[in-house]
């Protein structure tokens, strides 16, 4: 499982700006950012290199932050790769709450992050032939 930061955001100008600058000032490197929004509020989900430091810094800035475990799966950055992964998840009868990707253009590899409603999702996905990444992969990146 990879540790993801979830940050509550009011739908107001300057909120993402403050979030990004707060992490930047602490020299924290974001690998992936995914903002889900409604008309009234948003939630920013972040994968970064120093999760604990990020939680502390953001809380000191007054942000509401929680951490969530998400499944990180390595896939090739090629057409159809994501479809194959989602088919395997769907075939196992697992619900996806949300999902987003990180792409490395040079190596042509991608990582898909998803929150799954299933305690042994990682085993199921590995059994389907995918490489599941642990949290440590994203630290020091």
């Amino acid at each position: 499982m990879a540790q993801q930061l979830s940050v509550f955001l009011e739908n107001a100008p300057g909120r993402l700006n403050r979030l990004a600058n707060c992490l930047g000032e602490q020299e924290i490197n974001m690998h992936a950012l995914f903002v889900a929004d409604t008309s009234d509020f948003g939630v920013a989900r972040i994968i970064c290199d120093r999760t604990e430091d990020a939680v502390k810094a953001l809380r000191e800035e007054g942000f509401s932050v929680t951490t969530t475990d998400v499944v990180a799966v390595e896939i090739p950055d090629t057409p159809g790769a994501l479809g194959t992964l989602f088919t395997a998840i769907a075939d196992a009868g697992i619900d996806i709450s949300y999902s987003y990707c990180l792409v490395e253009p040079v190596t042509k590899k991608a990582v898909n992050f998803c929150r799954l409603k299933c305690p042994n999702a990682e085993e199921v996905i590995e059994a389907a032939g995918f490489r599941v990444l642990g949290d440590s992969v994203f630290h020091g990146m």
Binding site: S6, D40, R45, G62, S64, R115
Partner: protein, 437 residues
């Protein structure tokens, strides 16, 4: 007669209490007619003979004294004692308008201290206790009111006043071996929040009781305060026009506030007709100050909405009880023709403390000649909001609950924790931008 400062008065037989009130009133009415031109004018206009007043029931014939009367009399025209006998003035906080000034004689200050001493003892305070008074000291009656009452019953006052919340936590932690806290209920919650931020567990301190007033609060807010501070929380009622805090107070039964009836005569009147209602019916509280010298008032209409709690209190006191104040009828807002009290919204929001923080603000605007009401409430720092659906579910539940209580739909904005400005005195719960636009 446990927890009574002055049992012979507080538990006086009802008939004796009534006779006392009648005697005081028979002296007060002619005195005010002669001493205060405003009253002479009122009586003459209404064709009432102040010397003919016989019983308490006759009082209902007299006209009300209003906030406007006090404002028009600014600063001293309604004082009922010579200014050389006045030893102190206080002024109203002017929640809804301009200032009114009230004067106190030496005897008034002593009587007031007695009222507050009764409230502190009723909350469980003893001469061995400390009382941390975080009400503002000054023209506002909160600080000095609690101060003199605590000294009279023998507690040790910590006159810290409002403000400097960090230092408040330090004093609560270091100075108080045992005792109580007095401030506004919203400030009590702010203190709990600040303590948590400093890693101080208020519930683990020897603080036993709190006396909270100067703004309406709900039963849910009481539970919040009691849980977060680890204390018993008691309501105290008063307003500077009548005296200050201590006009009425809660006892251990927490079932209504006993009016200090040996000093104040209460009537509950219909909002529309001004007629007295039956005991138990809701209406506006009207007070006559029976013992005051400096600024005595006849039938002052507070516009505070409450009712007389029926029955006899288990604590043994004979003095009548009023229910906690629902709101002040001039705090009442009319949104698209529907009457709304901010306290009703608070009651709803405090039912969601698993997900919302007890901090909110109501913002009124006018869009295309239509009133719009926005309720801004903070997300609880402990709520796991990662799934948008959990936030949306919360938003729908809260909107539905508010709509069912108010019969009017609202825009709900769930905002970030700690984003609504905190105050050290009365909380700013209502922002009305309708007139400014």
């Amino acid at each position: 007669m446990s927890h009574q400062y002055n049992p012979s008065v507080e538990s006086m037989p009802a008939a004796q209490l009534q006779a006392l009130q009648q005697d005081q009133l028979r002296q007060l009415v002619p005195h005010l007619y002669q001493a205060v031109p405003v009253y002479k004018h009122k009586f003459d206009q209404a064709g009432i003979d102040p010397f003919a007043l016989q019983s308490l029931a006759d009082l209902a014939q007299l006209p009300f004294t209003t906030k406007d009367d006090l404002r028009a009399a600014y600063p001293y025209a309604m004082f009922s004692a010579p200014t050389r006998d006045i030893v102190r003035v206080h002024a109203s906080s002017g929640t809804t308008g301009s200032i009114s000034v009230v004067g106190y004689t030496t005897k008034d200050i002593a009587n007031w201290a007695e009222c507050v001493a009764r409230a502190i003892v009723a909350a469980g305070g003893t001469a061995d206790d400390f009382l941390h008074v975080a009400y503002g000291y000054g023209l506002f009656t909160g600080g000095l009111g609690l101060h003199y009452g605590a000294e009279l019953m023998g507690a040790c006052v910590i006159p810290i006043s409002g403000g400097n919340t960090k230092r408040q936590i330090q004093f609560l932690r270091d100075l108080m071996s045992t005792g109580g806290l007095a401030c506004t209920p919203s400030y009590a919650l702010l203190l709990a929040e600040e303590a948590a931020a400093q890693g101080v567990d208020l519930a683990a301190l020897p603080l036993r009781f709190g006396i909270f007033g100067a703004e309406p609060w709900s039963e849910n807010m009481r539970s919040q305060i009691e849980a977060q501070l680890g204390i018993d929380a008691y309501d105290i009622y008063g307003l500077s026009e009548i005296m200050g805090p201590g006009v009425a107070f809660e006892c251990q039964a927490k079932d209504g506030l006993h009016i200090n009836e040996d000093q104040f005569y209460v009537e509950v009147v219909d909002r529309e007709t001004g007629e007295c209602v039956q005991d138990g019916q809701y209406g506006e509280l009207v007070f006559t100050t029976l013992a005051k010298q400096g600024s005595a008032l006849l039938r002052y209409n507070t516009h505070d909405i409450s009712r007389i709690v029926p029955g006899v209190c288990s604590c043994g006191r004979t003095h009548k009880r009023i229910e906690r104040i629902t709101g002040r009828s001039d705090d009442m807002i009319i949104v698209r023709g529907v009457n709304v009290y901010p306290s009703q919204i608070e009651q709803v929001l405090l039912g969601f403390t698993d997900r919302l923080a007890p901090q909110y603000q109501v913002v009124l605007t006018r869009e295309a000649a239509m009133d719009a009401m926005e309720v801004r409430v903070e997300l609880s720092p402990n709520f796991d909001f990662d799934e948008i659906s959990a936030l949306e579910r919360l938003s729908i539940e809260v909107r539905t609950a508010i709509a069912s209580v108010l019969s009017v739909s609202v825009k709900l904005s769930i905002v970030e924790p700690y984003s609504i400005a905190r105050t050290e005195g009365k909380a700013v719960r209502l922002v009305d931008r309708r007139t400014a636009e």
